[in-house]
Symmetry: C2
Subunit: 392 residues, 2 copies
């Protein structure tokens, strides 16, 4: 029988990356493809103690329905941590979500009518593009350089698209490029958004994985008008399998996200929210993040040092100061998908870059994730990839 | 600053019930209002053992990202349990969701264009209505009697609305009425849906909470064309705070739900999925459900027996054979909202019925939940409510 779906179903495509991951998950493949955090960073022993404690102390409420907004002590903790990073936010401006991916879906649901313009970085996070696509927007891409979105191009786009619904950015250690927007541009971005009355969605999963001492305030830090909607997550600093993220925004805006959550799935897993909060009571969360950061820093060093030695000099790549990704640019005319085919023969995988561009093109780029593999495997994998690239 | 939301935001209203719950959660109130499962039924001690075991045996994978479709052994378990209830379904036809509420949201997302017709029971589950409203359908309500939806009225609606997108039903121990659709009507429903080529969404959270020995096969049991989309959940048989439900449908349809899940929030909490499966390995899940069932059966008996004694004879109510709700009909012209105001003075709460009718009206109905309160409190609360009703 033929089923008549809604029109938007034609826009809901399988994630190219999730499909690719199936190919690259063969045994023996050194994969720089996925965005998987390092399992060595997971606090398994601590979580055992936490789980028992939560069930002993408050088992009945941990297993029961709870409020849509989220577990209050966890929202207070998040507000406090955000305050420490320079953002003026109160616990009741926070909604707990199933990872920040759900915040992206709700952003599409709350803002996008069919045909509306969404402005984003070029390239941008493919999971966000897919979440937004379900609401059928038109994407306007803004070019980037090593300091992030180019503000002249953004202003031009705002003039041309005065009814754009929001500007989506991953300003810090961006997925996929690893780039970080400079402080000057952050200020300029907020100024432009305020002037043109277009909200900013600041997606910041990697901000706490900062390898350097320099402090980069989130874009929300510069927001005086409540124009920035901030998406955070514990997936990269703690454990992605627990699916805990959050939305922080002005009281009026966060209220809309709460209503979206109510209709979508009522609330986040109660027990997991309490466990995460209890972890921060029983253990030192900052020390945990520091351990995670050090793991990724060593892996970044292993990858970049080996790329320096093994990659031909006509191949450019970014030097991220945090996060999990570096972005490689091949000479024009070379298709990263062809390189992937070749490198899979050497049992090395990565993600070709074109799916990060909502309007296509840019086949000569690819993304490497240094977060998942151990240093030995990173060195070995990059050596093999260098061999493929040198044979071009 | 004025924010320009999507048009659908005007349709996303706060749940009247969730707002009401805040009022009724004052200390000392005997609440028949919410749909909270009995906390006495939660397996707290068992979950302590399960949590430790899962983290010991497979901690790293429990805390890591996993597939969108869900944890395979859990999908196999669900398929087996569905097979036992007379449904021919394979594990790869199952998607794990954040409670069945998420299956409702995805149903709206996948099927409803603005203005499309959704056919539902009158009254219907308010959480489903709210999930669908975000996609701006028109609701066509089908009257019910004690055997469920009236099939003549349904056929008339199908003739008048040949492009209706789906028929939404809670056929077993319905929320809010406690009614169960008869076997003859189940067969007729599938026959009509097949004839008019309109999918059925069978929402079955309460089916396993059956107090009688008679066996009622799910609607999906009669489905030979893959026209029934089945939504299940562990919220009522296990623990709602864990947010584990599922969608079971034909391979083509379930694939669409998987894509919706991918964009919406990637996957359900990995650890919780493994824990739920592990519980069924370490303990007897059927025996657990039997315990839950007995708790609700005694509470139903306490409520109905007291209503029999205390309610005036001109007040009708349903006699549910399972689930958590009974539905009260006041004489025409009496507004249940006024009765609620009065009964709150006696510290007794319930939910007025009009919000369960998508197109309004029917102010003379209300819903009583016998699932949450202990038997003593049920008897005391119904006595007080009887006093209010007798004073009419």
């Amino acid at each position: 029988m033929e089923i008549r779906y809604a029109d938007r179903v034609d826009s809901i495509k399988p994630s190219a990356i999730r499909e690719l991951l199936k190919l690259t998950q063969q045994p023996g493949v050194i994969s720089f493809a996925g965005g998987l955090p390092a399992p060595e960073s997971f606090p398994i022993e601590e979580m055992k103690q936490v789980s028992v404690k939560v069930l002993e102390e408050q088992g009945a409420s941990a297993l029961q329905y709870s409020t849509t907004e989220g577990y209050k002590p966890l929202r207070e903790l998040i507000a406090k941590r955000m305050n420490n990073s320079g953002i003026d936010i109160k616990p009741d401006q926070i909604l707990i979500t199933n990872g920040s991916q759900q915040g992206l879906d709700f952003s599409g649901k709350l803002f996008i009518n069919e045909g509306d313009v969404v402005i984003c970085e070029s390239p941008s996070y493919v999971g966000a593009l897919n979440a937004f696509r379900a609401y059928m927007p038109k994407f306007v891409e803004i070019s980037m350089d090593d300091e992030g979105m180019i503000m002249e191009d953004l202003e031009k786009a705002l003039v041309e698209n005065p009814k754009a619904k929001f500007i989506y950015v991953v300003p810090t250690f961006q997925n996929p490029t690893g780039r970080t927007m400079s402080i000057e541009r952050r200020k300029k971005l907020v100024q432009l958004a305020t002037e043109y009355k277009i909200p900013i969605i600041e997606d910041n999963p990697y901000g706490e994985l900062n390898f350097e001492d320099t402090d980069i305030p989130p874009i929300k830090h510069f927001d005086t008008e409540g124009i920035v909607i901030y998406l955070g997550t514990f997936s990269k600093t703690f454990c992605p399998g627990l699916r805990i993220g959050w939305v922080a925004a002005s009281p009026e805006i966060v209220r809309k996200y709460v209503l979206a959550k109510q209709g979508a799935d009522l609330q986040v897993n109660t027990m997991t929210q309490i466990e995460l909060y209890k972890f921060t009571e029983m253990f030192d969360f900052d020390a945990h993040v520091e351990r995670v950061r050090n793991i990724y820093k060593s892996r970044r060093d292993a990858m970049l040092n080996t790329m320096e030695k093994e990659f031909p000099s006509n191949i450019k790549y970014t030097h991220p100061n945090g996060g999990m990704f570096t972005w490689v640019e091949l000479p024009e005319g070379i298709d990263a998908a062809d390189i992937l085919k070749k490198s899979l023969e050497y049992k090395v995988a990565f993600v070709p870059g074109s799916s990060f561009y909502p309007n296509g093109g840019h086949e000569n780029n690819f993304r490497l994730n240094y977060g998942t593999m151990t240093e030995d495997l990173i060195v070995e994998g990059i050596k093999r990839l260098g061999e493929v690239l040198r044979a071009l």
